[in-house]
Symmetry: C3
Subunit: 341 residues, 3 copies
């Protein structure tokens, strides 16, 4: 199978390549060669905070003899300007058009995090910011979460679903909005329903009115489901949605109706504080329905301790699988042909 040149989102890889990566990830769990990527360097550019991505990528490289350097927002890096055609007489003393090629020239692969700015839905769905930064790199690029995609999370979640023996065809996953005080992006819910559709599952998007995902996201998931024998529906009826579910995957996001309107969005969300997962959500689910969340999660706000601390919760499994799946992605992008034999 031909090698991938970047890791931007699962859809462009195709089903066979994903299976290939998952197989490699599985084998990384039990053994790996601590010199396989010796001398290789991963650059990471975080324009936004990170905990799991930051640490799991460092570990993923270290276990096979590679190294990582980090450029992060809290560093004294003079500020990084991203706007084109600007006269830089303000705080930022450096433009990404100089910084990114420099950083990339020191590495064999670069990971970039550039979250949604949250002003304009069409702009964020187009992923224009990430795509521009990506165009400045002449080495393989890993999407460490962009405005609209989070493929590292989705690949890890796919592996977690496999690890828990959640059925592909016929398995039911509910991706549900929950309350959160901050306006979060559409990347995780969008990529999660698409990943589940790729996996052939029956997907229900459960969200209050005003929190629909964009047509681009929904159409893309439905088209994929049509090919894999899965399905994608959406509703605001919690009881109907959760009936016989094998998995409840939870995440908050900004209202699409009031996208970019801070006050209106907050007021709308404030009315929905009862969208917090407790045991009652599992009344009519499948017996072994698992609880999933990409973290960080706000206890007592998005979900009660009674669920998060129960045997239902898969959140630590999901976090751990970040490392194993990323080891597979790095191996795919970095190994030389000589090593692949």
């Amino acid at each position: 199978m031909s090698r991938i040149k970047r890791f931007y989102e699962l859809g462009e890889l195709g089903h066979n390549k994903v299976e290939d990566l998952l197989k490699k990830a599985k084998s990384s769990e039990t053994s790996f060669n601590p010199r396989r990527l010796e001398g290789k360097v991963l650059a990471t550019l975080f324009l936004n905070p990170s905990l799991r991505t930051l640490t799991s990528f460092q570990a993923s490289m270290a276990r096979v003899g590679g190294s990582t350097f980090v450029v992060s927002p809290e560093m004294s890096i003079h500020g990084l300007e991203t706007m084109d055609g600007i006269v830089m007489d303000g705080r930022a003393a450096e433009h990404i058009r100089e910084a990114v090629p420099a950083i990339a020239s020191y590495a064999d692969v670069i990971g970039i995090r550039a979250l949604a700015k949250g002003f304009n839905l069409a702009h964020d769905v187009s992923d224009a910011d990430f795509i521009e930064i990506q165009s400045l790199c002449d080495i393989p690029v890993i999407n460490m979460e962009s405005a609209i995609h989070h493929p590292c999370q989705s690949l890890a979640d796919w592996k977690s679903l496999d690890d828990m023996s959640i059925p592909r065809k016929g398995g039911k996953i509910v991706v549900s909005w929950v309350y959160h005080p901050d306006p979060l992006s559409h990347s995780v819910p969008g990529d999660t329903i698409h990943m589940a559709a790729m996996r052939g599952m029956n997907v229900t998007l459960l969200r209050p009115s005003g929190f629909e995902l964009s047509n681009y996201i929904m159409d893309r998931a439905r088209e994929t489901a049509a090919l894999t024998g899965g399905s994608v529906v959406e509703t605001d009826d919690r009881d109907e949605a959760l009936k016989d579910a094998n998995v409840l995957y939870v995440r908050s996001w900004m209202s699409s109706e009031d996208y970019g309107k801070k006050l209106a969005d907050r007021n709308r969300r404030n009315e929905l504080r009862d969208w917090c997962v407790d045991h009652s959500w599992f009344k009519h689910t499948h017996d072994n329905c698992r609880f999933m969340h990409s973290l960080p999660v706000r206890r007592g706000v998005e979900v009660l301790d009674e669920v998060l601390d129960s045997r239902l919760s898969a959140v630590t499994l999901q976090a751990r699988n970040r490392m194993y799946t990323q080891m597979a992605v790095l191996d795919e992008l970095l190994r030389t042909d000589k090593q692949s034999s």
Copy 2:
């Protein structure tokens, strides 16, 4: 000798294991295998600032082919909530109950720093915060300073005492309070007197009235001294304390009388600004009495330059021994049985 499963405090290791670690540390000074821990990963979680611990652990891993990743308080990690049963609608977007298992799942060993909160003496002496975090990890844990223990410092100090040929039985160490503008914890003085008692030394705790250490700390040190042939006494009489001392070990700490009462504690300390080490402290000590301090130290406040810059000072030796002793601890916790032969 059986391998240790964690590095929490020297007392639980026992004398023989400490000697074993010191022997390994000594040999690390002259040679080490730069591939011995290849592919191994150390996670570090700092809930408080660090300089020596942060850098010496990275160097300790790097010299034997391992790697370290750092999670530190100044990072943009959404804030880390530590309180149980909380509704997380404030600033912190992540709870240690999710963050710590995730970080630990990326590593082979984890080091944690969680200093005393300084509100309640009994709570801090119980080390409840550190023990709770430790319970979230299913890999070996290294105490990088908790509310009441700092075993990395104590093991390095033991080696420094050996390096300087300070006698075990019959050697006299004075652990003295000094003035400092900030209210510091009881971990270093408590662990230092216990380490010296384990070493069989005669220990004098020199402190002003109101700065007694807790009964737990004193009783523990006295019980250990009873077994090793050492002794533990305390006094506020400087001349008596320092007479014939081989070592003066200096550290400030918060008043036990006014523990958690910020203003009362500060007022009490402000009256004691003359507790600053100068040459006069060495008038009646042993001729070659050495000055020790775990650093950081405030020049002109805790001790004058005339002492710190003199041949008496052992502070750089103490700092350097952090690396060698930690290399021994990491080797003990990480090497596989195959490598141990």
Copy 3:
């Protein structure tokens, strides 16, 4: 050729050693041994912000199996006091006289950044601050930019000039002041004209009145040029300066006339906002005149996009060469004799 013991500035190395390092750097571009410096540790102490130096040194070590740890200004390291004889009752809880020897004791080589304080020109030109910190280290020291020198940049720039086939003897380089809102140091312009003089080039310093570089810098460059067959002149006449230039190297710096006088210096610079490079600067230059800048650069302020984004710009080449030349420097300072064969 004898090995160097430190990397402080190119002048003290001499021409042959520089050629030797450049040859090594060239070979690092195509191949390197990923275990050559295994187990070796680079300590970095940044008293000021950094992006390229910070990341390129980490990559330089990682590619040959070594490791780097970073101590940087944004870390919670209690603040680092640098003043001698001070009573440390303020914010800083640690003095460089304790911190630097500790850090150095964990490493095989240490890199230090300590930029000009910008209060007193004679003090900054003397490089007293860097030299004091250097004196606290008993391992090889790399100057990662001091008040008056930036040898890592100059060595990389020399390689870039070679890579672009800019003539040594007879080649003309113009080092020009440009407008910048902040008062920057004299290290880059001073070391650039000296590097070009070492290379045997004809150097023109182009700067407005009041922005002359110190006699120390100019005399040193002229003396070097006298030995290499190059030349050094200065002028404020842009047309004359740029005529037939092979290279335009751009950098802003604080007025020498108003050095340390914040308001006067800013007012003087504010009158000179037209010192911003555009296409018109290249009217009478050599046909293939290249644009160089050590970065970070403020777009639209120091130079227009039309130049920076054109084929004239060498800034990414310059940045990339930081890594290759630093690999040569690290190899020179760290390899053991056994490895050198």
